[in-house]
Symmetry: C2
């Protein structure tokens, strides 16, 4: 590695959580290499927002990688024929794995981040998963993160040579309101973040999908207005 800052790969979707994870990586002193995956999701406009967020935050670079995951369909996020749930109650949202679950999505994302990290000689990977407000996704749990970290050492040339990869999920134990507070503290460009599963072409959020509802509740609990809605 060329001298200076330690490098980190940061998975950046363009949503509020990953933008905050990026800000935490930068504040922690890492040279951030941001990675956005375009996987055929309905909300591809997130990638444009991700590029903007990466630039505004001061990421060292931002890459967008395309992989069409529709072959492993079964998610309302990638299958346009499935209905996205709208206007669900809190208990409905947190009650079961939602239809927006994309099979093995975070495993795929982390494996690509790991590949890039190894190529960059980075040893740290940031992911903005969160297990508190939205515990339905299996691949957002601490035990999943720990298991991938274990795998990463076995899966790589760097690991074979003694390196250890640190999988950093700084939002894992935070509520959405706490994440928003941290984002504000770190100067995240919240107005550019897009959490909605079903925005219009201009990036205006629908206001009624699970992700919009959770975000709205977070801002309510944080006692502030959502700058993206102004």
């Amino acid at each position: 590695m060329s001298g200076g800052k330690r490098r980190a790969v940061v998975l950046l979707s363009g949503g509020l959580d990953s933008a905050t994870a990026l800000a935490i990586a930068l504040r922690s002193g890492f040279e951030a290499h941001a990675l956005t995956l375009l996987y055929g999701q309905r909300h591809a406009i997130e990638a444009e927002r991700a590029a903007k967020i990466a630039a505004m935050a001061g990421a060292h670079e931002h890459r967008t990688v395309r992989i069409d995951l529709s072959f492993a369909s079964g998610s309302a996020l990638t299958d346009a024929t499935m209905e996205l749930p709208k206007n669900r109650s809190d208990s409905q949202i947190s009650g079961a794995i939602p239809p927006t679950y994309v099979p093995a999505r975070n495993t795929i994302f982390l494996s690509l981040a790991l590949a890039w990290a190894e190529a960059l000689e980075a040893r740290d990977i940031f992911i903005g998963v969160n297990a508190v407000d939205y515990s339905g996704y299996p691949d957002c749990r601490p035990e999943f993160i720990a298991s991938f970290e274990h795998l990463a050492a076995l899966a790589t040339k760097a690991g074979l040579q003694g390196a250890r990869f640190n999988l950093r999920a700084p939002l894992l134990g935070m509520t959405k309101a706490e994440i928003i507070g941290k984002a504000v503290e770190l100067g995240v460009d919240l107005a550019s973040t897009l959490s909605c599963y079903d925005p219009d072409r201009t990036g205006r959020p629908c206001g009624s999908c699970d992700s919009c509802l959770l975000r709205a509740r977070g801002f309510r609990e944080a006692g502030m207005a959502d700058p993206a809605l102004e």
Copy 2:
């Protein structure tokens, strides 16, 4: 799942090993869903061979998925500016991790296979990795396979609901000569398999890359001519 055979996802590169793994899956009674990843490798003609092998063997279906891994470069397989090692000795080939190592490649492949398996309600994933003749790759070791199997249960909705994924690496402990013997026994269309890292456009192997040399040694030890060279 619709009644009848159990489904399995089989990673199929078009090489000798994965063709044999496919034949083992079929002989074991699985309905085989073959998956080929086109990741920007030099030898993309393997994908055509994979389609042919899948059809000849009787796979239920074959999908090819593209993902450009050149962003995580550092491998002579995906970076045309790097030199592929040629005419290396046995000790050179087995002595260290070769420059053809693609960062986290099998982790990426298995994560995509896992996604498809979950979507198909398959619980078995076949991969033709082999730790005996070519132990240089970290992600061909038994401990890597075991670690991914552990991860798969944590990473998925199916796993959360109690399912376990079986990661099957039936060639793990076999020599190349033993794999060839098994391939012959199972009627694998060896003439269509392509192991070469650097074939010409028609799919003719170079004869001097590590993969060609290992294959040639395997056929020598198995006491037969390579049908792909006839």
